[in-house]
């Protein structure tokens, strides 16, 4: 089984294995563009839907067995189902109202809508996705959640051009890269099927190009966050290592409020830039979430 290759990286292998077999809790995020956390919780109370806040993220609620889509708050765009750990990268990017922000691989829009809320729906959030089919889900979610600050594009983010948008650099960029998705095994047990090292290496090439372009499109002093839902160092630390070597950027430390492990500096005989330790690996058993990888870079030209 694929996940065994990561057991040397995990301290508590038994807990890791057990967590990967359990389904994920149902979690939803309050869309603060539409309403307040208090009002959403009151509406859930009125409907008899048990919920409890997630400690590290305001407005993220664990629901007691209820699918958020079938509730009045979801109909009104107050609530959006989102896996707990996937709420991390937007918080790390920390966009501000009025900024120009790039979401390079935006569909289906959970992180996009979270970015828009953090921006107080002010500024320009370029929500791009190369896949036209997935773009319709992104547009549907952005509309349902009442987002006015998103400009949706359908380009290959590896050579994204800012020219049509009328400005020459982003303040911040999120690369929530397509990946081999092993970390989503709890949501989708089939994530392991079709896994091959050749596929990992191929997707790593795409990830490197995506991150390279995002760094290039961000102003000096700006922030780029790189995130995946895979444990594979080939798609995580190795991608950072390659981009650090060729682009004007550096990794910076960040806090998450979640239990996390540092990025690994060695994997299968390869050594990576020691600063990749600033990145965070989140294993399913640490916080009862999906698996995740997240790194924060500062652009310095």
């Amino acid at each position: 089984m694929v996940l065994e290759r990561y057991e040397p990286l995990v301290e508590d292998v038994a807990a890791f294995r057990a967590a990967c077999e359990r389904p994920l809790p149902s979690v939803a995020r309050v869309n603060t563009i539409a309403t307040t956390v208090e009002r959403t919780r009151a509406a859930l109370d009125d409907a008899g839907i048990a919920h409890e806040p997630v400690e590290w993220h305001p407005g993220l609620l664990r629901l007691d067995g209820t699918t958020p889509g079938k509730t009045w708050p979801a109909f009104h765009g107050w609530l959006h189902g989102q896996e707990e750990v996937s709420a991390l990268p937007a918080r790390v990017l920390d966009p501000r109202p009025g900024e120009r922000v790039f979401d390079a691989c935006a569909a289906p829009g959970s992180k996009t809508s979270q970015l828009a809320a953090l921006m107080d729906d002010r500024g320009t959030l370029v929500a791009n996705d190369a896949n036209l089919g997935r773009l319709s889900a992104l547009r549907f979610n952005a509309e349902r959640l009442g987002i006015t600050c998103a400009a949706v594009t359908n380009r290959d983010a590896r050579n994204f051009s800012l020219a049509p948008l009328g400005f020459d650099a982003f303040d911040r960029a999120l690369v929530d890269a397509p990946c081999s998705c092993e970390g989503t095994v709890r949501k989708n047990p089939d994530a392991r099927e079709g896994w091959s090292l050749a596929r990992v290496e191929s997707v790593a090439g795409v990830q490197e190009s995506l991150l390279r372009r995002a760094v290039g499109a961000t102003r000096s002093g700006g922030i780029v966050v790189y995130a995946t839902c895979t444990f594979a160092p080939e798609e995580n630390e190795a991608v950072l290592d390659a981009v650090l070597a060729s682009e004007d950027c550096r990794l910076v430390e960040f806090e998450t409020g979640l239990d996390a492990r540092p990025g690994v500096t060695e994997w299968e005989g390869e050594r990576f830039d020691p600063s990749v330790r600033q990145a965070k690996r989140i294993y399913p058993h640490l916080n009862n979430t999906g698996g995740f990888f997240c790194a924060k870079l500062e652009v310095a030209r």
Binding site: F75, D121, R139, A151, L165
Partner: protein, 196 residues
Amino acid sequence: MRGDGASGGADDGGGAEGGRGAGVDRDAGRDNDGQRFDRLPATADERRVEGRATREAVLDWWDERFAIPPERFERFTFWEKGAGKIWIFGDDAPSGVEIEALGLTFLRTRQEHWKPTTDAVQRFGRAASRNVIELDREAARRFAAGEDQAIGWGGDWGYLIAAHGLAGEPEPLGIGLYLHGELRSQIPKGRRRELR
């Protein structure tokens, strides 16, 4: 708009493109391009594409129809992509930009009677104080499911904002077309839900 049965156009999801695509401005030589976002002119004096709504007219319409004051929309820009489809954007952008979406779909101005989108009403309708019909929970449930229903209303006919009480305050559900004692839900198919 009392008694007007032709308000129709219940195509919140967007009907045929370019129904008025021949809205050519002979002076400027520009037409209404279905692939491009063009900024609404501020006023009729600045209009270069025939039939295009103006920012002023859009803000006046929300004010007159729902008593949402123009100040509510001060920080937003307004755009047309395709004939009569107006979008609202929370920033500025170059006019003519060719992308998939720029902000939120906001208003259809192709028909005689302008029609706001469900998403715009859920986003901005809380500020409305005119032509808002308050529904009880059962009527709200039917409205969210896309059903038409007989219901009393002493005000204007035409497009109304349907609202219901949620967590202690009224909350807009979407747009309903009120005609002949009946409220016809305009919630687009993809947004309809069977709720309790």
